[in-house]
Symmetry: C2
Subunit: 170 residues, 2 copies
Amino acid sequence: MLEYRRMTLAKPAFPAPDHDHGRCTADALAHAEEVCEQRAQKFTPIRRQVLAALLSSHRPLGAYEVIDELAKSMPRPAPITVYRALDFLMANGLVHRIESRNAYLACAAHDHDATSAVAFLICERCGLVGEIPSASFAKDLNAAARSSGFAPKLSVVEITGVCAHCQKAA
Amino acid sequence: MLEYRRMTLAKPAFPAPDHDHGRCTADALAHAEEVCEQRAQKFTPIRRQVLAALLSSHRPLGAYEVIDELAKSMPRPAPITVYRALDFLMANGLVHRIESRNAYLACAAHDHDATSAVAFLICERCGLVGEIPSASFAKDLNAAARSSGFAPKLSVVEITGVCAHCQKAA
DNA sequence: TGAATATAATAAGCAAGCTTACGATTATTC
DNA sequence: GAATAATCGTAAGCTTGCTTATTATATTCA
Ligand SMILES: [Zn+2]
Ligand SMILES: [Zn+2]
Ligand SMILES: [Zn+2]
Ligand SMILES: [Zn+2]
């Protein structure tokens, strides 16, 4: 029961419109610090700022949108600066790349391991993106792949649709 | 048994290195003609040529690669020309877009209905791409999505890994 | 045949994503 | 404290993906 609560709390499938986003952001930044310390990686100001920019919403941002976001609070960074930070954050499992959008999303589920597959739920109305743990389907997916002798490594699973909140609003 | 043969022939999960690709291409073009006729759509020369370019390999090609391919046998087409053809071919289920590559792939499984989800197996060694029918996993995937109230519409499932042939070659 | 529609060619351009090159700055390490 | 490595800033540029606008060519059909 405790385990169940912990899991459902730790892995919200989709960001609820009324969640405490300040807390949500603070937690993510704290988590990032922790991860970097554990791995002896440097969570430098620019890396923090890029992550913070992504955390400002639960929407994936293109690299140039990140630049625009940062430009609000500092001298406009060059693309390379942002790409370097994004590479770092992705390498450490703090940011996901949404392939179908060429965009980047701050990881909101700090408990899946960095290498494991994640599926994304992308709402076509509000643009918010949720993560669902791969456990529930990766097995079947990988089995289907392996049935033809294919050795799966990395899975991109991105589901577009309408989130619960936007359905009600319609 | 007959049904089984038909299905495995019609839905090869991954293009075998020794398959009769000439036949494979001819079949696909014939199928395209058929589909267009049934739908009263025009399978014009440029559309045919773009499809043929994509069929030249089982690799996804970017729009500019398609242009390069066409340039070999005709005056270099403008981007817009190719994009129009690609849009047409996608709308009629003859071509898939591989989101994680910003590239286009000729559909090699002429029997899945145009709207249903498909998963792709992308070999990171040889670059070939196979399709697997969604049936085997779409159910679980959609169920996982719906469990959080999300109404899934379109799924992008792209699995990178190593194909059977490249595993042997290694 | 002539109007309406669909398709294609021509020309130009924009925006996004990403990279290369190089010098400056900061940490680490010996 | 000098050498090394990691990080960052600056400047420039490349490629790809895709669009807009306009004119021309077929097709369809009344
Ligand atoms: Zn939040
Ligand atoms: Zn929504
Ligand atoms: Zn083939
Ligand atoms: Zn291969």
